[in-house]
């Protein structure tokens, strides 16, 4: 096959994958409702999402080579996600607060902190991803790791409570009438940590 033929083949395969991934993401967002489309369309849209998922081989067994190959390619080329940023609607903001409780009854509050501004920006994305997690164990594991990093800074604390919630932003008119953002708790976990036991001398 000529060099142009190979490149044309790459072109068709590459953009077919981009089309499938992007279409699926848009359809998924639309199927969730709250758009200009009638809600009666949701089942059809959900079915189309299923077709795109099948075309991307994601219904095959995880160890299937075709599935692994497609996923490896899309991840390596940066086309594994679609382009519906802030769409169809801007996602709800999430917030994480740590309640650090001491044996004497004192309670201190802390927020997640990182070294650089750029990583701080990424924390919001982490919170959005956590909110989407359906597996309780995975969510709890992530919260436990975060709580542990806070406990390391407060080793005298008896309990670190992780409070995760959504931030309800006021609309423009509500804001003009004095309403400000409020916070609604989604999950709260209590974690207890203990320092490692000192080495036993012989």
């Amino acid at each position: 096959m000529s060099r142009k033929g190979v490149l044309a083949g790459f072109f068709i395969l590459h953009f077919s994958l981009i089309f499938l991934v992007s279409t699926r993401q848009v359809l998924f967002g639309l199927a969730e409702g709250n758009t200009l489309l009638p809600s009666s369309w949701s089942p059809v849209l959900a079915r189309l999402v299923g077709i795109a998922t099948t075309a991307l081989a994601e219904n095959l067994a995880p160890e299937n080579l075709i599935r692994r190959g497609i996923a490896g390619y899309t991840h390596s080329t940066g086309i594994d996600t679609g382009y519906a940023y802030f769409a169809p609607n801007v996602a709800i903001s999430h917030k994480l607060v740590f309640e650090v409780k001491y044996p004497d009854g004192r309670v201190e509050y802390d927020l997640p902190h990182v070294g650089g501004e750029a990583t701080g920006l990424r924390l919001v994305l982490l919170f959005d991803n956590i909110a989407r997690i359906r597996y309780d164990v995975l969510r709890e594991t992530l919260f436990r790791m975060m709580a542990f990093s806070i406990w390391l800074e407060h080793p005298d604390a008896s309990v670190v409570r992780v409070v995760f919630g959504v931030v309800d932003l006021p609309s423009v008119s509500d804001f003009e009438h004095g309403k400000r953002e409020s916070y609604e708790v989604l999950y709260a976990y209590d974690f207890r940590f203990s320092p490692p036991a000192p080495p036993v001398s012989p």
Binding site: L7, S76, G78, I79, A87, A118, G120, V124, N129
Partner: protein, 304 residues
Amino acid sequence: MPLIQVIRERLIAFLFPAESDRWLSILRVGLGIQVIAYAWSARADWVELFARSSSGFGNRELTEVILSVQSPFAPRLGWLVSMGKYLGVSEAIVLWTAWSCLLCAGVFLLFGLFSRPAAVTAWFLHLCAVKSEQLLTYGMDNFTTIGLFYLMLAPLPDRLAVDVHLWRTPMGDPQSLGFWRRVLQIHLCFIYFFAGIAKSLSLEWWTGTSIWRALTSTPYDLISPQVLVSWKYLLPVVGSAICLLETGYPLFIWPKKTRTFWLASVISMHVAIGLTMGLYLFAFIMIVLNGAGFVPELVRRRDS
């Protein structure tokens, strides 16, 4: 001439136009700056993000387990750490070496020194980092990967690269240059069309509610809500303009009459996103991709 033959020839003419390497210079220099800025901005949290013993917010081991379920072939820093362990090199040294190599690859790309190895190194290390912090990634990371992937495959070096002057490396074939620019252009059309259509099907973008929400959500709330409220009549205009600009991109970026306006408007939109929401690296990579995709066309027209 049979119809199929005509279609085939037109398709080949569309996919393989003879093209200069100006666009490649923009892409290489732009991605060099992007990679340097990415590495520099991540330096304070690099080990905290990727160390196995990290107790913080982006535990690499957990992220890589999730990644393995999705795709065991996707590159990750865990591969380099395992290799280092086999050779008796500590995790911290491996991580800092990866960071240093990424920064150096960015500098080499900027000057066009060892362009191809620098592009491959930058693509691989950036991808490893992005995949190993998958729960914390956003659009900017994907667009940087896309840009680096195309740069790595494009016929490097371009005439502004140091390589050409130092080693007298032959320049790329014009049709090959044209093909990779075409790939980038069409990818940009996909990006904006899907971004635009997803927004256009929501009433909140046309009423300006989405703009308000985006600009008042933490950490994008650089402008105080009091200032935004005083401009509230502009919010629906801005929201509608974004829907039209993005959805119309694949239609209006090609005709010569509308290209300059559309490109200038899209670049202005990204400058505004960068300045008002603090998404500087996201804005920069989008400007670089648009610049490489369509700006050389404008320059060439002026030249002629």
